[in-house]
Symmetry: C2
Amino acid sequence: MPRKGVLTVISGFSGVGKGTIVKKLVSEHDEYAVSVSATTRNPRPGEENGRDYFFLTNEAFESMIKDDGLIEYAKYVDHYYGTPRAYVERKLSEGKDVILEIDAQGALQIKKQYPDALLIFIVPPTADVLRERLKGRGTEDADTIKDRLSRAAEETAYIKNYEYVVVNDDLERAVLDVHTVIQSAHMRLGNNDEFLTILSQQIKNKFEV
Amino acid sequence: MPRKGVLTVISGFSGVGKGTIVKKLVSEHDEYAVSVSATTRNPRPGEENGRDYFFLTNEAFESMIKDDGLIEYAKYVDHYYGTPRAYVERKLSEGKDVILEIDAQGALQIKKQYPDALLIFIVPPTADVLRERLKGRGTEDADTIKDRLSRAAEETAYIKNYEYVVVNDDLERAVLDVHTVIQSAHMRLGNNDEFLTILSQQIKNKFEV
């Protein structure tokens, strides 16, 4: 029986380290595939089309929306961001565990279409750690850091929509915890219904008196 | 934040190897504690009080029922079997992951009282493997084997009440799968609510604008 891939949404506050966790997870295990988002914003220096994002025109993005070619999307500050359906469904059917790194609104859109999707929220061990990580990056100015922290304060309201929470205190531990949660989903009843139907029928046919 | 223990019920057809899985799991990891059942049946040769079962008189068992001292119990062929509450609750509060190896009726009683309990059903890869394992034990006569297989046919109806299914094809793999499922439960939202309440409050107090 070929195993079905698990679709996982990973969200978390800006600066919590979810990108690092996903990168490490994927580099350590072959069973994962990470979805690349589409966007209408311009590429930043060093960003590559098809690796960081699929960079699309407004027209191309809106025609994907119309054709139901995105499994979730949103508009922030005049730019669209979304997840192309084709890649996700192809990888799932190949048995890959597909990871989407998207925000809480996107997570809810995914859960509606894929009720078996796994929703994981990454949190820091403390509020101070989150602030220190954002400062430590050294890439954002004080105003941007303030904006991100105030957004984190808003996002705490969304954690209740997730099924699992992973604390990113020690990176190795967080990667292992995310891996454990995703792999456990393969043993969920809903991911084994075909096998269980066949097995139950076999047992009844052969042993029922 | 001290971690709470996870309460896990492991069920499965007679002969599927659940006892072997639990024994191996517990011998490989320190975080587990296996509950010992109480019964009013007589000890068999080699069985030890407090290790295999707590052997009780009928009066002692019924007074435990009256005092709410059992988290589940049933009567089979004139004998009581049940799970003492005190051991389970003490081990859970010590942070141990407590395993109960009980049947489908017991599993439902547990789930009513402990909604966060994890219900795992162990299955063989095929019906034939189940029959071969029962025969291979060499401890039961043909009639007993036939009884157990016909009971397995009935028990297929209960699998739908479980949350996870683990296939015992390769023992090492099955032990790892059970371990993965139980450890993933520590990351469930419900097992982290105190921590999340404190963290969310911290983040809001410090960063809300």
